[in-house]
Protein backbone atom coordinates (compact mmCIF):
# COMPACT_ATOMS: atom_id res chain seq x y z
CA UNK A 1 0.00 0.00 0.00
CA UNK A 2 1.30 3.41 -0.89
CA UNK A 3 1.59 6.51 1.25
CA UNK A 4 -1.40 7.86 -0.65
CA UNK A 5 -3.78 5.23 0.61
CA UNK A 6 -2.69 5.73 4.21
CA UNK A 7 -3.34 9.47 4.07
CA UNK A 8 -6.57 8.64 2.30
CA UNK A 9 -7.67 6.31 5.08
CA UNK A 10 -6.79 8.94 7.70
CA UNK A 11 -8.87 11.46 5.75
CA UNK A 12 -11.82 9.06 5.77
CA UNK A 13 -11.45 8.24 9.45
CA UNK A 14 -11.32 11.92 10.41
CA UNK A 15 -14.75 12.28 8.82
CA UNK A 16 -15.92 9.17 10.72
CA UNK A 17 -16.23 7.22 7.48
CA UNK A 18 -14.90 3.99 6.06
CA UNK A 19 -13.86 3.02 2.54
CA UNK A 20 -17.12 1.13 2.04
CA UNK A 21 -19.35 3.69 3.71
CA UNK A 22 -19.71 1.98 7.08
CA UNK A 23 -19.46 3.71 10.45
CA UNK A 24 -16.20 3.31 12.35
CA UNK A 25 -17.63 0.77 14.77
CA UNK A 26 -19.84 -1.08 12.32
CA UNK A 27 -19.33 -4.71 11.37
CA UNK A 28 -20.18 -6.03 7.93
CA UNK A 29 -23.10 -8.39 7.53
CA UNK A 30 -22.50 -11.63 9.44
CA UNK A 31 -23.81 -14.90 8.01
CA UNK A 32 -23.36 -18.23 9.78
CA UNK A 33 -24.11 -21.62 8.28
CA UNK A 34 -23.90 -24.61 10.61
CA UNK A 35 -22.82 -28.21 9.94
CA UNK A 36 -21.33 -27.65 6.52
CA UNK A 37 -19.07 -30.70 6.79
CA UNK A 38 -20.40 -34.24 6.99
CA UNK A 39 -17.29 -35.78 8.47
CA UNK A 40 -16.62 -33.22 11.20
CA UNK A 41 -18.28 -33.57 14.58
CA UNK A 42 -19.31 -29.95 14.27
CA UNK A 43 -18.61 -27.29 11.68
CA UNK A 44 -19.57 -23.81 10.64
CA UNK A 45 -19.05 -21.50 7.70
CA UNK A 46 -18.91 -17.88 8.73
CA UNK A 47 -19.08 -14.98 6.32
CA UNK A 48 -18.45 -11.44 7.42
CA UNK A 49 -18.92 -9.31 4.35
CA UNK A 50 -16.72 -11.03 1.79
CA UNK A 51 -14.42 -12.65 4.34
CA UNK A 52 -15.22 -16.32 4.62
CA UNK A 53 -13.92 -18.95 7.01
CA UNK A 54 -14.79 -22.58 7.70
CA UNK A 55 -14.13 -24.18 11.10
CA UNK A 56 -14.43 -27.86 11.87
CA UNK A 57 -14.32 -29.78 15.13
CA UNK A 58 -12.88 -33.27 15.46
CA UNK A 59 -13.04 -35.25 18.68
CA UNK A 60 -10.56 -37.98 19.37
CA UNK A 61 -9.77 -40.22 22.28
CA UNK A 62 -6.41 -39.76 23.90
CA UNK A 63 -4.37 -39.78 27.06
CA UNK A 64 -4.71 -36.73 29.34
CA UNK A 65 -1.74 -34.58 30.30
CA UNK A 66 -0.14 -35.86 33.53
CA UNK A 67 -0.84 -32.62 35.44
CA UNK A 68 -4.56 -32.65 34.54
CA UNK A 69 -5.51 -36.35 34.62
CA UNK A 70 -9.28 -35.67 34.69
CA UNK A 71 -9.45 -33.01 31.97
CA UNK A 72 -9.75 -33.15 28.21
CA UNK A 73 -7.53 -31.20 25.85
CA UNK A 74 -8.06 -28.51 23.26
CA UNK A 75 -6.08 -27.84 20.11
CA UNK A 76 -6.66 -25.01 17.70
CA UNK A 77 -5.06 -24.82 14.27
CA UNK A 78 -5.50 -22.19 11.63
CA UNK A 79 -4.62 -22.64 8.03
CA UNK A 80 -4.40 -19.65 5.73
CA UNK A 81 -5.09 -21.25 2.39
CA UNK A 82 -3.23 -19.70 -0.57
CA UNK A 83 -6.51 -19.60 -2.50
CA UNK A 84 -8.01 -17.16 -0.01
CA UNK A 85 -5.54 -14.35 -0.56
CA UNK A 86 -2.64 -13.52 -2.89
CA UNK A 87 -0.54 -12.85 0.21
CA UNK A 88 -0.79 -16.37 1.60
CA UNK A 89 1.72 -19.02 0.59
CA UNK A 90 1.46 -22.78 0.83
CA UNK A 91 3.61 -24.51 3.39
CA UNK A 92 3.97 -24.63 7.16
CA UNK A 93 1.89 -22.07 9.07
CA UNK A 94 3.43 -18.63 9.13
CA UNK A 95 3.52 -16.10 11.92
CA UNK A 96 0.05 -14.77 11.08
CA UNK A 97 -1.59 -18.20 11.15
CA UNK A 98 0.10 -19.07 14.43
CA UNK A 99 -0.99 -15.80 16.00
CA UNK A 100 -4.59 -16.36 14.92
CA UNK A 101 -4.67 -19.92 16.20
CA UNK A 102 -3.14 -18.92 19.51
CA UNK A 103 -5.46 -15.99 20.11
CA UNK A 104 -8.52 -18.13 19.30
CA UNK A 105 -7.11 -20.91 21.50
CA UNK A 106 -6.45 -18.49 24.35
CA UNK A 107 -10.00 -17.18 24.13
CA UNK A 108 -11.50 -20.66 24.36
CA UNK A 109 -9.09 -21.89 27.01
CA UNK A 110 -8.96 -18.95 29.39
CA UNK A 111 -12.70 -18.30 29.28
CA UNK A 112 -13.19 -21.92 30.41
CA UNK A 113 -15.71 -22.12 27.60
CA UNK A 114 -15.46 -25.90 27.45
CA UNK A 115 -16.23 -27.93 30.55
CA UNK A 116 -12.96 -29.88 30.54
CA UNK A 117 -13.97 -32.18 33.38
CA UNK A 118 -16.84 -33.55 31.30
CA UNK A 119 -14.39 -34.57 28.59
CA UNK A 120 -12.84 -37.11 30.93
CA UNK A 121 -13.89 -40.70 30.24
CA UNK A 122 -11.50 -42.53 32.54
CA UNK A 123 -9.33 -40.54 34.90
CA UNK A 124 -5.68 -40.54 33.91
CA UNK A 125 -6.27 -42.78 30.93
CA UNK A 126 -8.94 -41.70 28.52
CA UNK A 127 -10.14 -38.22 27.74
CA UNK A 128 -11.63 -36.53 24.70
CA UNK A 129 -9.29 -34.26 22.78
CA UNK A 130 -11.00 -31.48 20.86
CA UNK A 131 -9.29 -30.22 17.71
CA UNK A 132 -10.58 -27.04 16.19
CA UNK A 133 -9.38 -26.59 12.63
CA UNK A 134 -9.95 -23.32 10.90
CA UNK A 135 -9.52 -22.76 7.16
CA UNK A 136 -9.76 -19.43 5.44
CA UNK A 137 -11.80 -19.47 2.25
CA UNK A 138 -11.56 -15.80 1.36
CA UNK A 139 -9.64 -13.03 3.04
CA UNK A 140 -11.22 -9.62 2.80
CA UNK A 141 -9.90 -8.46 6.13
CA UNK A 142 -10.47 -9.07 9.84
CA UNK A 143 -9.62 -12.77 9.64
CA UNK A 144 -8.85 -13.10 13.34
CA UNK A 145 -12.32 -12.10 14.53
CA UNK A 146 -13.98 -14.25 11.87
CA UNK A 147 -11.82 -17.26 12.82
CA UNK A 148 -12.77 -16.83 16.47
CA UNK A 149 -16.42 -16.59 15.58
CA UNK A 150 -16.23 -19.65 13.32
CA UNK A 151 -14.51 -21.69 16.02
CA UNK A 152 -17.18 -20.95 18.61
CA UNK A 153 -20.00 -21.47 16.08
CA UNK A 154 -18.62 -24.89 15.17
CA UNK A 155 -18.17 -25.85 18.84
CA UNK A 156 -21.73 -24.83 19.51
CA UNK A 157 -23.13 -27.49 17.18
CA UNK A 158 -20.48 -30.16 17.79
CA UNK A 159 -21.78 -33.56 18.95
CA UNK A 160 -19.82 -36.46 20.40
CA UNK A 161 -19.29 -39.42 18.05
CA UNK A 162 -20.28 -42.91 19.09
CA UNK A 163 -17.93 -44.54 21.62
CA UNK A 164 -18.20 -48.09 22.93
CA UNK A 165 -15.48 -47.82 25.57
CA UNK A 166 -12.82 -49.11 23.19
CA UNK A 167 -13.07 -47.45 19.82
CA UNK A 168 -14.56 -44.28 18.51
CA UNK A 169 -17.14 -44.81 15.78
CA UNK A 170 -17.03 -41.70 13.63
CA UNK A 171 -19.85 -42.99 11.43
CA UNK A 172 -22.43 -42.49 14.17
CA UNK A 173 -23.24 -39.36 16.07
CA UNK A 174 -24.73 -39.17 19.52
CA UNK A 175 -27.05 -36.36 20.54
CA UNK A 176 -24.72 -35.33 23.30
CA UNK A 177 -23.28 -31.88 22.58
CA UNK A 178 -19.79 -30.78 23.50
CA UNK A 179 -20.10 -29.22 26.98
CA UNK A 180 -19.95 -25.55 26.10
CA UNK A 181 -20.39 -23.22 29.06
CA UNK A 182 -19.59 -19.81 27.66
CA UNK A 183 -19.41 -18.03 24.33
CA UNK A 184 -16.14 -16.10 24.01
CA UNK A 185 -16.11 -13.64 21.10
CA UNK A 186 -12.91 -11.95 19.93
CA UNK A 187 -13.18 -8.40 18.60
CA UNK A 188 -10.13 -6.61 17.25
CA UNK A 189 -10.13 -2.85 17.59
CA UNK A 190 -7.74 -1.01 15.29
CA UNK A 191 -6.29 2.41 15.92
CA UNK A 192 -5.02 4.83 13.29
CA UNK A 193 -4.20 8.48 13.97
CA UNK A 194 -6.31 8.59 17.13
CA UNK A 195 -9.39 6.91 15.62
CA UNK A 196 -10.67 3.48 16.54
CA UNK A 197 -12.34 1.18 14.04
CA UNK A 198 -13.41 -2.46 13.87
CA UNK A 199 -13.81 -5.09 11.14
CA UNK A 200 -11.40 -3.62 8.56
CA UNK A 201 -11.46 -4.67 4.93
CA UNK A 202 -8.18 -6.01 3.57
CA UNK A 203 -7.52 -2.55 2.15
CA UNK A 204 -7.95 -0.86 5.53
CA UNK A 205 -6.08 -3.61 7.33
CA UNK A 206 -2.82 -2.72 5.58
CA UNK A 207 -2.41 0.49 7.52
CA UNK A 208 -2.90 0.83 11.23
CA UNK A 209 -0.87 2.14 14.14
CA UNK A 210 -1.90 -0.48 16.65
CA UNK A 211 -4.55 -3.09 17.26
CA UNK A 212 -5.94 -4.84 20.30
CA UNK A 213 -7.88 -8.08 20.19
CA UNK A 214 -10.21 -8.40 23.16
CA UNK A 215 -12.02 -11.68 23.77
CA UNK A 216 -14.97 -11.37 26.11
CA UNK A 217 -17.72 -13.65 27.38
CA UNK A 218 -21.40 -12.92 28.08
CA UNK A 219 -20.89 -11.26 31.47
CA UNK A 220 -18.20 -8.95 30.12
CA UNK A 221 -15.21 -10.81 31.56
CA UNK A 222 -12.11 -10.33 29.44
CA UNK A 223 -10.49 -13.68 28.78
CA UNK A 224 -7.85 -12.91 26.19
CA UNK A 225 -5.94 -9.91 24.93
CA UNK A 226 -3.54 -9.56 22.04
CA UNK A 227 -1.81 -6.36 21.04
CA UNK A 228 -0.36 -5.85 17.58
CA UNK A 229 1.03 -3.06 15.47
CA UNK A 230 4.11 -0.88 15.82
CA UNK A 231 2.70 2.01 17.84
CA UNK A 232 2.31 1.82 21.60
CA UNK A 233 -1.10 2.29 23.22
CA UNK A 234 -1.93 4.15 26.40
CA UNK A 235 -4.06 2.99 29.33
CA UNK A 236 -6.79 5.28 28.04
CA UNK A 237 -6.60 3.57 24.61
CA UNK A 238 -6.98 0.18 26.25
CA UNK A 239 -10.07 1.40 28.13
CA UNK A 240 -11.65 2.74 24.94
CA UNK A 241 -10.78 -0.32 22.88
CA UNK A 242 -12.08 -2.73 25.51
CA UNK A 243 -15.39 -0.90 25.79
CA UNK A 244 -15.81 -0.93 21.98
CA UNK A 245 -14.91 -4.64 21.84
CA UNK A 246 -17.33 -5.45 24.65
CA UNK A 247 -20.19 -3.66 22.93
CA UNK A 248 -19.48 -5.27 19.55
CA UNK A 249 -19.05 -8.75 21.08
CA UNK A 250 -22.52 -8.52 22.58
CA UNK A 251 -23.95 -7.60 19.18
CA UNK A 252 -22.08 -10.39 17.41
CA UNK A 253 -23.14 -12.98 19.98
CA UNK A 254 -26.75 -12.44 18.93
CA UNK A 255 -25.97 -13.64 15.39
CA UNK A 256 -24.83 -17.05 16.62
Amino acid sequence: MSKDSKTNLIRYLSEEKRFDGRKLDEFRQIEIEYNVSKTAEGSARVKVGETEVIAGIKLEMGKPFPDTPDEGALMVGTELLPLSSPDFEAGPPGIEAIEMARVVDRGLRESKAIDNKKLCVKKGEKVWIISVDICTINNQGNLLDVCGLAAIAALKVAKFPGFDGERVDYKTHTDEPVPLLKIPIPVTVFKLSGKYFVDPTSEEEQEYDSRLTVTTIEDGTICALQKGGDAPITVEDVDNMVSIALRKANEIRKSL
Partner: protein
Protein backbone atom coordinates in the same frame (compact mmCIF):
# COMPACT_ATOMS: atom_id res chain seq x y z
CA UNK B 1 -9.58 -24.04 -52.71
CA UNK B 2 -12.97 -25.58 -52.54
CA UNK B 3 -15.82 -23.47 -53.71
CA UNK B 4 -17.97 -24.40 -50.77
CA UNK B 5 -20.91 -22.16 -50.01
CA UNK B 6 -20.40 -19.89 -47.03
CA UNK B 7 -22.90 -20.28 -44.26
CA UNK B 8 -23.42 -18.67 -40.86
CA UNK B 9 -24.05 -21.47 -38.38
CA UNK B 10 -24.23 -19.69 -35.02
CA UNK B 11 -26.84 -17.01 -34.45
CA UNK B 12 -26.12 -13.33 -34.06
CA UNK B 13 -26.37 -11.92 -30.48
CA UNK B 14 -26.30 -15.41 -29.00
CA UNK B 15 -23.82 -16.87 -26.55
CA UNK B 16 -20.97 -18.78 -28.16
CA UNK B 17 -18.61 -21.12 -26.34
CA UNK B 18 -14.92 -21.75 -27.19
CA UNK B 19 -14.55 -24.22 -30.04
CA UNK B 20 -18.04 -23.66 -31.35
CA UNK B 21 -18.24 -23.47 -35.13
CA UNK B 22 -19.63 -20.05 -35.97
CA UNK B 23 -19.52 -20.14 -39.76
CA UNK B 24 -18.17 -22.13 -42.68
CA UNK B 25 -16.71 -20.92 -45.94
CA UNK B 26 -14.27 -18.18 -46.79
CA UNK B 27 -16.78 -15.35 -47.07
CA UNK B 28 -16.77 -14.55 -43.35
CA UNK B 29 -13.88 -12.87 -41.58
CA UNK B 30 -12.72 -13.68 -38.04
CA UNK B 31 -12.24 -10.76 -35.66
CA UNK B 32 -11.75 -10.51 -31.86
CA UNK B 33 -12.47 -13.74 -30.02
CA UNK B 34 -12.70 -15.91 -33.14
CA UNK B 35 -10.23 -17.70 -35.38
CA UNK B 36 -10.18 -19.49 -38.71
CA UNK B 37 -9.45 -23.22 -38.84
CA UNK B 38 -9.27 -24.52 -42.43
CA UNK B 39 -12.56 -23.23 -43.90
CA UNK B 40 -14.40 -22.78 -40.62
CA UNK B 41 -14.54 -19.93 -38.14
CA UNK B 42 -14.49 -20.99 -34.49
CA UNK B 43 -15.01 -19.16 -31.23
CA UNK B 44 -12.04 -18.80 -28.90
CA UNK B 45 -13.86 -17.04 -26.06
CA UNK B 46 -17.10 -17.34 -24.15
CA UNK B 47 -19.27 -14.43 -25.11
CA UNK B 48 -21.94 -12.93 -27.28
CA UNK B 49 -21.49 -13.31 -31.01
CA UNK B 50 -21.70 -10.13 -33.01
CA UNK B 51 -22.12 -10.34 -36.78
CA UNK B 52 -21.21 -7.12 -38.51
CA UNK B 53 -21.65 -7.72 -42.23
CA UNK B 54 -19.03 -10.36 -42.96
CA UNK B 55 -17.05 -9.81 -39.78
CA UNK B 56 -17.60 -12.17 -36.84
CA UNK B 57 -16.64 -10.91 -33.43
CA UNK B 58 -17.19 -12.16 -29.90
CA UNK B 59 -17.83 -9.75 -27.04
CA UNK B 60 -16.57 -11.66 -24.01
CA UNK B 61 -18.89 -11.84 -21.01
CA UNK B 62 -16.12 -12.14 -18.44
CA UNK B 63 -12.44 -12.71 -18.07
CA UNK B 64 -9.28 -10.76 -17.56
CA UNK B 65 -8.28 -7.67 -19.43
CA UNK B 66 -6.38 -8.32 -22.62
CA UNK B 67 -4.05 -5.52 -23.69
CA UNK B 68 -4.75 -3.81 -26.99
CA UNK B 69 -2.77 -1.13 -28.75
CA UNK B 70 -4.22 2.32 -28.14
CA UNK B 71 -6.11 1.52 -24.94
CA UNK B 72 -6.02 4.16 -22.23
CA UNK B 73 -5.59 2.30 -18.97
CA UNK B 74 -4.63 2.78 -15.33
CA UNK B 75 -1.47 1.06 -14.20
CA UNK B 76 0.39 0.53 -10.96
CA UNK B 77 4.17 0.57 -10.73
CA UNK B 78 5.46 -2.74 -9.40
CA UNK B 79 9.16 -2.60 -10.20
CA UNK B 80 11.96 -0.33 -11.29
CA UNK B 81 14.45 -1.14 -14.01
CA UNK B 82 17.55 0.69 -15.16
CA UNK B 83 15.63 2.14 -18.06
CA UNK B 84 12.07 2.33 -16.87
CA UNK B 85 9.28 0.86 -14.80
CA UNK B 86 7.33 -2.37 -14.79
CA UNK B 87 3.64 -1.68 -14.49
CA UNK B 88 0.76 -3.90 -13.40
CA UNK B 89 -2.09 -3.29 -15.81
CA UNK B 90 -4.57 -5.78 -14.31
CA UNK B 91 -3.73 -8.42 -16.86
CA UNK B 92 -1.67 -11.55 -17.19
CA UNK B 93 1.26 -9.67 -18.66
CA UNK B 94 3.15 -6.87 -17.00
CA UNK B 95 3.74 -3.77 -19.05
CA UNK B 96 6.90 -1.76 -19.51
CA UNK B 97 7.07 2.02 -19.33
CA UNK B 98 10.44 3.16 -20.56
CA UNK B 99 11.96 6.42 -19.39
CA UNK B 100 11.84 7.97 -22.84
CA UNK B 101 8.08 7.40 -23.03
CA UNK B 102 7.49 8.59 -19.49
CA UNK B 103 8.86 12.10 -19.48
CA UNK B 104 10.42 14.69 -21.72
CA UNK B 105 12.55 16.03 -18.86
CA UNK B 106 16.29 15.71 -19.15
CA UNK B 107 17.43 12.76 -17.09
CA UNK B 108 20.99 12.59 -15.90
CA UNK B 109 22.91 9.33 -16.08
CA UNK B 110 22.25 7.31 -12.92
CA UNK B 111 19.37 9.51 -11.83
CA UNK B 112 17.05 8.13 -9.16
CA UNK B 113 13.98 7.04 -11.10
CA UNK B 114 11.77 7.01 -8.00
CA UNK B 115 11.69 10.80 -8.38
CA UNK B 116 9.27 10.24 -11.25
CA UNK B 117 7.52 7.02 -10.27
CA UNK B 118 7.91 4.99 -7.13
CA UNK B 119 6.61 1.49 -6.53
CA UNK B 120 2.84 1.52 -5.88
CA UNK B 121 2.29 4.78 -7.75
CA UNK B 122 -0.65 4.84 -10.14
CA UNK B 123 -0.81 6.45 -13.56
CA UNK B 124 -3.12 6.96 -16.51
CA UNK B 125 -1.25 5.57 -19.44
CA UNK B 126 -1.73 4.37 -22.98
CA UNK B 127 -0.61 1.18 -24.66
CA UNK B 128 1.60 2.01 -27.62
CA UNK B 129 2.48 -1.49 -28.64
CA UNK B 130 1.64 -5.11 -27.92
CA UNK B 131 4.05 -7.60 -29.46
CA UNK B 132 3.16 -11.08 -30.58
CA UNK B 133 4.84 -12.30 -27.40
CA UNK B 134 2.46 -10.08 -25.43
CA UNK B 135 5.12 -7.65 -24.30
CA UNK B 136 3.25 -4.45 -23.60
CA UNK B 137 4.78 -1.00 -23.99
CA UNK B 138 3.24 2.05 -22.39
CA UNK B 139 3.53 5.77 -22.89
CA UNK B 140 2.67 8.84 -20.87
CA UNK B 141 2.93 11.21 -23.81
CA UNK B 142 -0.58 12.09 -24.84
CA UNK B 143 -3.76 13.85 -23.86
CA UNK B 144 -4.68 13.30 -20.23
CA UNK B 145 -1.96 10.76 -19.54
CA UNK B 146 -0.40 11.48 -16.18
CA UNK B 147 0.61 10.27 -12.77
CA UNK B 148 -2.29 9.99 -10.30
CA UNK B 149 -2.04 11.59 -6.87
CA UNK B 150 -4.30 10.69 -3.96
CA UNK B 151 -7.73 9.24 -4.50
CA UNK B 152 -8.78 5.63 -4.54
CA UNK B 153 -8.44 2.85 -7.07
CA UNK B 154 -11.20 0.30 -7.47
CA UNK B 155 -11.25 -2.69 -9.75
CA UNK B 156 -14.18 -3.82 -11.89
CA UNK B 157 -14.77 -6.36 -14.64
CA UNK B 158 -13.01 -4.99 -17.69
CA UNK B 159 -15.94 -5.95 -19.95
CA UNK B 160 -18.25 -3.69 -17.95
CA UNK B 161 -16.06 -0.63 -18.58
CA UNK B 162 -18.15 0.59 -21.56
CA UNK B 163 -21.25 0.53 -19.35
CA UNK B 164 -19.53 2.61 -16.66
CA UNK B 165 -18.51 5.18 -19.26
CA UNK B 166 -21.88 5.16 -21.01
CA UNK B 167 -22.71 6.64 -24.36
CA UNK B 168 -20.21 9.41 -25.05
CA UNK B 169 -19.30 9.33 -21.37
CA UNK B 170 -22.87 10.05 -20.25
CA UNK B 171 -22.85 7.64 -17.34
CA UNK B 172 -19.50 8.67 -15.92
CA UNK B 173 -20.25 12.38 -16.23
CA UNK B 174 -23.54 11.79 -14.43
CA UNK B 175 -21.64 10.14 -11.56
CA UNK B 176 -19.05 12.91 -11.55
CA UNK B 177 -21.71 15.58 -11.38
CA UNK B 178 -23.63 13.94 -8.52
CA UNK B 179 -20.65 12.93 -6.41
CA UNK B 180 -18.33 15.88 -6.97
CA UNK B 181 -15.49 13.45 -7.65
CA UNK B 182 -12.85 13.32 -10.31
CA UNK B 183 -13.14 9.93 -12.00
CA UNK B 184 -10.87 8.28 -14.53
CA UNK B 185 -11.90 4.95 -16.00
CA UNK B 186 -9.19 2.77 -17.45
CA UNK B 187 -10.02 0.21 -20.15
CA UNK B 188 -8.38 -2.45 -17.98
CA UNK B 189 -11.04 -2.17 -15.26
CA UNK B 190 -9.10 0.06 -12.86
CA UNK B 191 -11.04 3.16 -11.89
CA UNK B 192 -9.50 6.11 -10.08
CA UNK B 193 -11.79 8.21 -7.93
CA UNK B 194 -10.80 11.32 -6.05
CA UNK B 195 -13.04 13.66 -4.09
CA UNK B 196 -14.58 14.18 -0.67
CA UNK B 197 -15.04 10.88 1.24
CA UNK B 198 -18.84 10.97 1.05
CA UNK B 199 -18.66 11.48 -2.72
CA UNK B 200 -16.08 8.75 -3.17
CA UNK B 201 -18.20 6.27 -1.23
CA UNK B 202 -21.25 7.11 -3.35
CA UNK B 203 -19.22 6.82 -6.54
CA UNK B 204 -17.90 3.40 -5.51
CA UNK B 205 -21.39 2.11 -4.63
CA UNK B 206 -22.84 3.40 -7.90
CA UNK B 207 -20.04 1.89 -9.97
CA UNK B 208 -20.44 -1.47 -8.22
CA UNK B 209 -24.19 -1.18 -8.84
CA UNK B 210 -23.69 -0.55 -12.54
CA UNK B 211 -21.25 -3.46 -12.70
CA UNK B 212 -23.71 -5.90 -11.16
CA UNK B 213 -26.83 -4.64 -12.94
CA UNK B 214 -25.35 -3.83 -16.34
CA UNK B 215 -27.40 -6.52 -18.11
CA UNK B 216 -30.71 -4.99 -17.08
CA UNK B 217 -32.65 -2.62 -19.27
CA UNK B 218 -33.27 0.96 -18.25
CA UNK B 219 -29.98 1.05 -16.39
CA UNK B 220 -29.26 4.71 -17.06
CA UNK B 221 -32.60 5.83 -15.64
CA UNK B 222 -32.20 3.61 -12.62
CA UNK B 223 -28.75 4.95 -11.87
CA UNK B 224 -29.94 8.51 -12.42
CA UNK B 225 -32.74 7.96 -9.91
CA UNK B 226 -30.35 6.40 -7.41
CA UNK B 227 -27.88 9.27 -7.79
CA UNK B 228 -30.60 11.90 -7.40
CA UNK B 229 -31.74 10.26 -4.19
CA UNK B 230 -28.26 10.03 -2.70
CA UNK B 231 -26.45 12.89 -4.36
CA UNK B 232 -23.65 14.59 -2.43
CA UNK B 233 -23.40 17.69 -4.60
CA UNK B 234 -26.64 19.73 -4.83
CA UNK B 235 -28.28 19.61 -8.24
CA UNK B 236 -27.21 22.25 -10.73
CA UNK B 237 -29.81 24.78 -11.83
CA UNK B 238 -29.36 23.96 -15.52
CA UNK B 239 -29.05 20.22 -15.81
CA UNK B 240 -27.72 18.93 -19.08
CA UNK B 241 -30.36 16.68 -20.59
CA UNK B 242 -29.39 14.09 -23.11
CA UNK B 243 -31.59 11.50 -24.66
CA UNK B 244 -30.00 8.13 -24.20
CA UNK B 245 -32.94 5.78 -24.59
CA UNK B 246 -31.38 3.65 -27.27
CA UNK B 247 -28.32 3.06 -25.10
CA UNK B 248 -29.50 -0.34 -23.93
CA UNK B 249 -29.74 -1.77 -27.41
CA UNK B 250 -26.23 -0.65 -28.10
CA UNK B 251 -24.43 -3.31 -26.16
CA UNK B 252 -22.47 -5.18 -28.80
CA UNK B 253 -21.21 -1.95 -30.29
CA UNK B 254 -20.36 -0.45 -26.92
CA UNK B 255 -16.75 -1.39 -27.45
CA UNK B 256 -16.60 1.37 -29.95
CA UNK B 257 -17.10 3.92 -27.22
CA UNK B 258 -14.15 2.64 -25.36
CA UNK B 259 -11.66 5.16 -26.64
CA UNK B 260 -12.40 7.99 -24.37
CA UNK B 261 -9.59 10.50 -24.30
CA UNK B 262 -12.08 13.08 -23.03
CA UNK B 263 -12.51 11.16 -19.80
CA UNK B 264 -9.67 12.86 -18.03
CA UNK B 265 -10.00 16.00 -16.04
Amino acid sequence: MTTQKSELIAKDKKIAVPGEILATGMDFLPSNGTYRLSDKILASKLGVLNVDGKVLKIIPVSGRYFPRKGDVIIGKVVDLNFNGWRVNINCAYEAMLSVKDATSDFIRRGENLTKFFDINDYMVTQIINVTSQNLVDLTLKGMGLKKLYGGRIIEINTHKVPRIIGKQGSMVSMIKEATGCKITVGQNGFIWISGPPAGEILAVTVIKKIESESHQSGLTDKIKEYLDKNRVVPKQTTPVQESENDFEQEEPQSDAQSDFSDEQE
